[in-house]
Amino acid sequence: MKITYGLGDRGTREVDVEAGTSIMRAAITNSVPGIVGECGGQAMCATCHVYVRDEHLDALPPISDDEEEMLDCTVAPRDERRSRLGCQLAAGVAFDEIVVDVPSAQV
């Protein structure tokens, strides 16, 4: 399974992941820039905000109440369609392969 992180003018980073690994955790483990994940995946800090590329949106699980609340607290503007928390999307559950764009700021 694979996550591709779009890093704007810094290109992209591809990371191979095992089932159960979230977009946030994979970024931390592989030092992908631009994802902070302060709270370690509890939908509490809004610092693992990502924009999911359109072609992957339909397959994603719905946004929970906790995630919804945090998406209103992101530093980079929320995109009503594409914004998600990286900690709430795990390989093998939400996707097998996914492409996300990392926002310009998390804090």
């Binding site: 302060e38 709270c39 370690g40 509890q42 509490m44 800090c45 609340e69 209103d72 700021a105 804090v107």
Partner: protein
């Protein structure tokens, strides 16, 4: 991987020196090694940003469940000293009233009312006014009392409980008087909780204790977990907002140009708050224990090593923050470690941002025009495990009553 070395033994590091001014000590430690063995503290101290961050994001290797924890002895075994999965259900039970939605709909107006009340007290103190003891401390205690739902206690009770249980948690000298005071507070808290459980079953509201009594599905946490976690919250939810109010006010009063910019543009209050806790993290150090042999920052740590994660030092790591010793609201925004990270990320972070950055600090400077430090009285800061202002005497030129937006 290069060969790991043994941690340098830093006998020159002493507790009284760190209490007075830890920053030059940490600066020298960071230059020498990421991890030191410090005999006076009887543990390894992790002082660099990357290594503190690594430890807090890896709870399997760096366990919060410390052997011989004095916190467990003084408060019981709270979630702060548990690892996942045991930690998770307690954390989940604590979180709902502390989230941004609840703050917006319930707590924000409570913070406003409490702040007005203690600004009045500061005004009444007149020539003897101290920003910490007449404002920051009682306000932080009152806000905590409101959120937790201790309707059968006063803010003064909360301050006494908090300080005596924290003192017991740090009672490495094994002073029997300190243990006794902590034990008495712990029993008072137990009695207050015993009264409140039936009360909130009959009178549910938005408070945290009410939420614990009326959990969805009708299940409750075990009473030992309720008690230990409430004591941890009393210990960990009072001094930190108190100290960031003090530190932020002190930093701004010492840097009038920066204060001027914030007063011009109130959107900068959250920036000033964040820079204040980056500059002087209210919780300076917290413990971890290794579960296996591991290398951290080039230093070999055997399984069972007791560590201190020194975020007070990590937040001044010059490899991450330029001119880290300066308070500078214009610095490049970067994540700091003052709220911790990973599973134990501060549950009260949103409460702090609202109660301090959006209410206490702006209202303080709106109410007192020409607020300044009173140079005729002593100003002092202290601490390294917890650090904050000990005395912050203030004067002002004019009071603007009812100036609050």
């Amino acid at each position: 991987m290069t060969a790991a070395r043994e941690a340098p033994v830093s006998e020159w590091v002493t507790i009284p020196d760190m209490y007075r001014d830890p920053f030059p000590i940490f600066q020298r430690m960071r230059a020498e090694a990421a991890v030191h063995w410090v005999p006076s503290v009887n543990r390894y101290m992790v002082v660099t940003y990357d290594e503190c961050h690594t430890a807090e994001m890896d709870g399997e290797t760096f366990s919060a469940d410390e052997t011989g924890s004095l916190m467990k002895r003084s408060m019981g075994h709270s979630m702060l000293r548990k690892d996942d999965p045991e930690h998770a259900p307690e954390r989940a039970a604590w979180q709902p009233p502390l989230r941004p939605g609840a703050i917006k709909t319930v707590w924000r107006e409570v913070f406003e009312a409490n702040t007005e009340r203690y600004l009045d007290r500061l005004a009444d103190a007149g020539d003897a006014a101290d920003l910490i003891w007449d404002f920051a401390a009682p306000l932080a205690a009152e806000n905590l009392r409101s959120i937790l739902g201790f309707v059968n206690a006063t803010q003064e009770d909360l301050q006494r409980w908090s300080q005596t249980m924290i003192d017991a948690t740090g009672n490495y000298a094994d002073d029997p008087v300190v243990w006794e005071k902590g034990r008495r507070s712990s029993e008072e808290v137990d009695r207050a909780i015993d009264e409140l459980l039936p009360y909130y079953a009959a009178h549910p509201d938005a408070s945290l204790i009410s939420g614990l009594v009326n959990m969805p599905g009708g299940e409750r946490l075990p009473i030992e977990a309720i008690r230990a976690n409430l004591k941890m919250t009393i210990g960990g939810g009072l001094n930190e907002p108190r100290d960031v109010i003090g530190t932020a006010a002190w930093a701004l009063l010492e840097n009038p140009d920066q204060l001027g910019r914030v007063l011009q543009d109130p959107a900068l209050w959250p920036v000033a708050f964040d820079e204040a806790i980056r500059w002087i993290a209210p919780i300076g150090m917290y413990p971890r224990e290794t579960t296996r042999d591991v290398e951290l920052g080039g230093v070999r740590l055997p399984a069972g090593s007791r560590l201190g994660i020194v975020v007070l030092s990590a937040n001044r790591d010059e490899r991450v923050f330029e001119y880290a010793e300066r308070f500078d609201i214009a610095r490049e925004k970067k994540p700091h470690l003052a709220f911790g990270g990973g599973a134990h990320y501060c549950a009260g972070a949103w409460v702090a941002k609202s109660s301090v950055a959006q209410v206490a600090l702006p209202r303080l400077f709106e109410r007192f025009e020409g607020l300044e430090i009173d140079g005729d009285r002593e100003t002092s800061a202290g601490g390294w495990v917890f650090r904050g202002m000990l005395k912050l005497p203030v004067t002002w030129q004019r009071e603007r009553k009812g100036a609050a937006a």
